[in-house]
Symmetry: C2
Subunit: 265 residues, 2 copies
């Protein structure tokens, strides 16, 4: 049995979240269906973690054990041929037997995408969160710095978080603005349920002048979810990367004509 | 009667092109329907030019005469409230009586968006053209330079172009690559029917090594559409800007809290 990991992108508006559930197509089930079509076996696929309905992924990681003579590259093409519309495997590689997409993960990076315009552009509305009011970026950056570091993030955790410690470390939180798009990019060792969306909702309140940046330390100390901002909509959230000790997917597959000096996405 | 011009964005995958046609919803009809709902009058809306089904716009310009006491800003909000999903007015301003969206136009800028990946990302597939092979950007840039200037572009014109001269001036043609996205940005005094898409199709053939950059001058001199590349798909094409002698829409409307130093798309 080979242990295989794959890098998965999906449009969250087309699935009922990551996790398998009776009667609703999830990304996990879509992957398991593709494996069933290909191998005739029911193979359990493990993701690095759940994402809710509407949340997108550019770099979800999934791992599973499979018995096949196909090379990694052929397995990748074959699985993509069987995979439901709205999801795609961007890479696949055989890995050490001890690797597990969730248990081996050491951190994650998310991006929350916001558009600010008086009238939302009519493109890809399920792929960003639209805010009609302008945002005070400078105030948002001051607020963002207060979230970075090791804190008890109970104030940002929705009910549904697993029991246990709510202490997490946010390693970096950047606000990247380009024309009408603002990306909140956050990296940490782990995130509580809805934590990134509540963080985004709270920062957006700061940006709209509804909350002062200097209130954030007290908000965190209070550990009271009701005092934080709203949970920002799923449409803006992307799981960008899952971080492991080893460099996973260091080399995404190149096209058939891959050669140096050539443009390749 | 006030002469009004507006800046229109639309998702080309949601309309049957710009121009009104019986039984299929076009952007022109959607605008005229919004004006009818608002004023009770059938008002003819003139666009800067047609766009085909599937072609998008970030900055189409339309003009019309209307009798109303609403301010420009209120008219803008009211029309957007009545406009069909998939289109939005980004700005609106009363203009000189002689202004006509098409007749006053002095040029246009288009962008053609390409993604190169082995497997297409599952987002917004109707909003770019996806190419699975890598592209030789350097060769494409050499080829692009041959198109710039005043030429007879019959070689790039589909049947359906209006009779008359096929001489046009391409003022600028840039290839902007960022990660997996390549934008061909072209500005000229006017374009023949399907000219930008054939230009894109021809440049993509150069990028894939199917055609040499140095063949372009001869291609243009030959004036034979059959010798150019294929018409690239509508999904990648965006009408970005219509150019007029006067500065139109110099100031897009700001949000209700617009103030200096504030992020605003």
């Amino acid at each position: 049995m080979r242990n295989v990991r794959c890098l998965v992108a999906y449009d969250g508006s087309r699935f009922f979240g990551w996790q398998r559930q009776e009667g609703f197509l999830s990304v996990q089930e879509a992957l398991e269906n593709a494996l069933l079509s290909l191998t005739g076996e029911r193979i359990v696929v493990h993701g690095s973690g759940r994402t809710d309905t509407g949340v997108h992924a550019l770099g979800q990681v999934a791992s599973f054990h499979v018995e096949t003579r196909l090379s990694d590259e052929r397995l990748l093409f074959a699985l993509n041929a069987h995979l439901a519309e709205g999801a795609v495997l961007r890479g696949l590689e055989t890995c050490a037997d001890g690797f597990h997409a969730q248990k081996s993960a050491r951190g994650k990076r998310y991006a929350y995408l916001v558009r600010t315009e008086t009238f939302a552009l009519p493109f890809a509305r399920a792929h960003w969160h639209w805010v009609s009011a302008p945002l005070d970026l400078a105030a948002m950056r001051v607020a963002a710095r207060h979230f970075v570091g090791r804190h008890d993030f109970s104030a940002l955790a929705s009910a549904g978080s697993p029991r246990g410690s709510n202490v997490r470390t946010i390693r970096a939180l950047h606000l990247v603005a380009r024309r009408g798009t603002l990306a909140l990019v956050v990296e940490g060792d782990g995130f509580l349920y809805n934590m990134v969306r509540t963080l985004a909702g709270t920062l957006l309140e700061v940006g709209r002048g509804k909350r002062a940046a200097h209130e954030i330390p007290e908000l965190l100390l209070g550990k009271d979810r009701r005092r934080a901002g709203p949970t920002a909509p799923a449409a803006g959230l992307y799981l960008v990367r899952v971080l492991y000790v080893e460099p996973a997917f260091a080399r995404l597959p190149r096209g058939p004509r891959g050669r140096p000096g050539v443009f390749q996405g």
